[in-house]
């Protein structure tokens, strides 16, 4: 990707403000196409795809996309596979409410750590082996479900299966090796959203599988154990497909990655420092815990909730619960789209407002879900809650790329971990004790969502403003360059290490919304010849 100063188009970049953050293709003048490369899709100089063609399986780019999202989907299926079968499992293993709640907490806690480790694993082995290792080594844990005979075994196995959610990291990492950074937003957002759908699909799949096995003659307490072989086999199948069909890079496999190691990499300690000292990082860690986090918690409790409260059959409760997770198909991309649209007119302030509105409304509908006493109202409020929460997830990642240029990777990772932490916390407080019935737990969780979304009002960008305050009037501080260059010290600036950030700053002027046409030239930068 060669963005040479002065090359056609660079000085005009961002002036029109029409470049979307979730572009599905990259224009050739901006990123030159490598015409010597022979791939199914047009590629840039690194052979990363410039186009995102959803229904193609072309090697290697779109094939990577499909392998990636389906692996992540499979891990969601196995992590939440127990949830719709809890009414049977709780009788077999003699579980109390606390046991069920603790197992739910365990299922999302494991991946807090595995996601942090996964980044390093992908660096060492490449994303293909990172994904394959994780999915194949967690397959035995899924098969272990057939052994358990008490509460502690149940909690332990769900904890271990939960490690597989780190495929999120390998999925996003792998996509970033295959897709140009200008379309990586859409590519990653779609892969993540479709992977999350697994949490919904499993609520549909597992009761159906259980039913079939029962009709074949098994008793309930054996049938649910056999049902777990399905997610287990999915792990093995996807692992084999990833190993045989996947490749780490557009041009080949692991060997080339080692050549890449000669490129100077940023110092981890510095990157970490700029991530943790930026207060916005922590606000978004909290916020994501109450959009993604509550989505995961609800995946764990909603099937049992409908089964018990409305006396439904197991597969009916499963169908209803599935619609919650499956809404991810459109809800999460919708959140990103709404964020982009708001940014067109109002810039970053629009993005912040969209996030606050979506997430708060999700919380309000969650309160309504807890208070619903009839089935139709419960289903309606659940669907609205799912749209609010999942769109908020999409909107969150519409803002995260702008918090920091240097530490984007770590901030994304911390945010993701925050999601799992929020899930564990809400399940622990509201769904593991007899203090709240499940309907009360849902209502209080909705209240907590609305309260914990308020900190987004505190997020202020000097160059763009915040929800209630306009951007800084200071001529120097109100530039994007000042904000992003502040992550580098003088030594690093002298070495020119901050050039990438400056380029990003220039491109990020779109976040001023309609004001960008009148954006003043920042002091100190010479205007590039057109």
């Amino acid at each position: 990707m060669t963005d040479v100063e002065g090359s056609p188009g660079t000085s005009m970049h961002g002036v029109t403000g029409r470049e979307p953050a979730f572009a599905s293709f990259v224009d050739s003048p901006m990123v030159p196409t490598d015409t010597t490369a022979k791939f199914a899709l047009p590629v840039d100089s690194e052979h990363k795809a410039k186009v995102f063609k959803l229904f193609s399986f072309g090697k290697p780019h779109m094939r990577t996309f499909h392998l990636s999202w389906i692996s992540f989907f499979t891990c969601f299926v196995s992590t939440f596979a127990a949830a719709p079968l809890v009414p049977i499992i709780r009788d077999n293993l003699n579980l109390t409410k606390a046991d069920i709640g603790n197992a739910g907490v365990a299922s999302v806690s494991g991946s807090i750590f595995s996601r942090l480790v996964m980044g390093a694993v992908c660096d060492m082995l490449g994303p293909r082996y990172g994904c394959a290792f994780l999915i194949m080594l967690t397959a035995p844990t899924v098969f272990c479900m057939s052994f358990i005979s008490d509460a502690s075994g149940y909690i332990a196995v769900r904890f271990m299966i939960g490690f597989s959610l780190a495929t999120f990291v390998s999925c996003q990492y792998w996509m970033s090796t295959m897709f140009n950074s200008k379309i990586i937003g859409l590519a990653n957002g779609t892969a993540a959203g479709w992977g999350n759908m697994g949490g919904g699909a499993t609520q549909l799949l597992m009761p159906i599988v259980y039913d079939i096995i029962r009709r074949a003659g098994a008793t309930p307490f054996t049938a649910w154990r056999i049902a777990f072989f399905i997610p287990g086999w999915l792990h093995v199948i996807m692992g084999i497909l990833v190993l045989t069909l996947g490749q780490d890079l557009p041009d080949g496999n692991l060997g080339a990655l080692q050549k890449k190691g000669s490129v100077a990499k940023d110092k981890f300690s510095k990157v970490m420092w700029y991530a943790v000292t930026n207060y916005r990082t922590w606000i978004f860690v909290l916020l994501y815990g109450y959009s993604m986090g509550v989505e995961l918690s609800t995946d764990n409790v909603v099937a049992e909730y409908f089964y018990d409260r409305f006396d439904l059959k197991l597969h009916t409760a499963g169908i209803i619960a599935a619609t919650f997770g499956m809404a991810n198909l459109v809800a999460r991309p919708f959140g990103g789209y709404a964020s982009d649209k708001a940014a067109l007119y109002f810039g970053m302030r629009g993005r912040l407002w969209v996030l606050w509105i979506l997430q708060t409304m999700g919380g309000a509908f969650c309160v309504w879900l807890g208070r619903a006493t009839t089935l139709p109202i419960a289903i309606l409020s659940m669907i609205l809650f799912s749209i609010g929460a999942q769109a908020a997830c999409g909107a969150t990642f519409g803002i995260i790329p702008f918090i920091s240029r240097r530490s984007l990777g770590i901030i994304s990772g911390l945010t993701g971990a925050g999601g799992n932490f929020g899930s564990g916390l809400t399940q622990l407080i509201f769904f593991s004790t007899t203090r709240f019935t499940t309907d009360q737990g849902l209502s209080w969780m909705g209240v907590m969502i609305m309260v914990c979304t308020l900190p987004v009002t505190l997020v202020h960008f000097p160059q763009w403003g915040s929800m209630f305050f306009p951007p800084s009037k200071d001529v120097v501080k109100s530039t994007e360059e000042h904000y992003y260059a502040a992550e580098w010290n003088e030594d690093e600036k002298k070495k020119g290490l901050h050039q990438g950030s400056l380029k990003f700053a220039e491109n990020s002027r779109t976040e001023r919304g309609k004001r960008i046409v009148s954006a003043p030239t920042p002091p100190g930068s010479t205007p590039a010849p057109v």
């Binding site: 709780r90 082996y129 057939s146 307490f221 056999i226």
Partner: protein, 206 residues
């Protein structure tokens, strides 16, 4: 005039039918009389699901005036959770409204009502969970509504309880299949890894 009186009639009949429906659906346990005498006999110790049996006998209390049982048409005998097994498990909660009550979830027998002593032998089904239980019999009238009951324990549900141990649900064949598939996953992963590493090394040496 005619329209408004017709509407009034419609409203009144709707209201009336609602009330009647309410009467039909909303039977409370506390409104039932305990007229049946139910006794259970089980072997000593913990019963095993799928193997051991529970013998239940029931009859209307002979000391009550005759005619008490004139309405009884059918009797259903159920296995019910004792309070200790309901603790921390809201899905087994005792609720006064019978259609929402989750205390008795397993049917032992259902028979037409008979004045003589009735006995039922029931092998504990394999889906019964590990818990402490008692037995309750409900008498139904011709409309299928509960009108009386009897149980093998006292009002506080503390006496004459028996324990059932559920099947584990595990099978040796399942365990073996689990181990086989797990081993396959691990072996194929590392096999692939070493094969590719060896191929990489040999192509580098060439």
């Amino acid at each position: 005039m005619a329209v408004s009186s017709a509407r009034g009639l419609l409203l009144a009949s709707l209201l009336l039918s609602c009330l009647i429906h309410d009467c039909y659906g909303k039977i409370l346990f506390s409104s039932l009389q305990s007229t049946l005498q139910v006794t259970t006999s089980t072997k000593q110790g913990v019963l095993k699901a799928g193997e051991d049996k529970v013998t239940v006998t029931w009859r209307v209390n002979q000391s009550l005036p005759s005619g008490t049982d004139s309405e009884y048409k059918t009797v259903t005998v159920k296995l019910c959770y004792s309070p200790v097994s309901q603790k921390d498990r809201a899905w087994r909660k005792t609720v006064d409204l019978l259609e929402k009550d989750k205390t008795c979830q397993f049917k032992i027998a259902a028979r037409p009502y008979d004045k003589t002593v009735q006995t039922a032998e029931w092998i504990v089904e394999r889906e019964v969970p590990t818990s402490t239980y008692f037995v309750r019999a409900y008498a139904f009238n011709a409309d299928g509504q509960e009108v009386a009951f009897g149980q093998s324990t006292n009002d506080q549900k503390t006496t004459n309880l028996f324990d059932i141990q559920a099947i584990s649900g595990r099978h040796a064949s399942l365990d073996i299949a689990s181990v086989c598939f797990s081993a396959f996953a691990v072996v194929s992963l590392f096999g692939f890894f070493y094969l590719e590493k060896r191929k990489g090394r040999s192509s580098q040496q060439k």
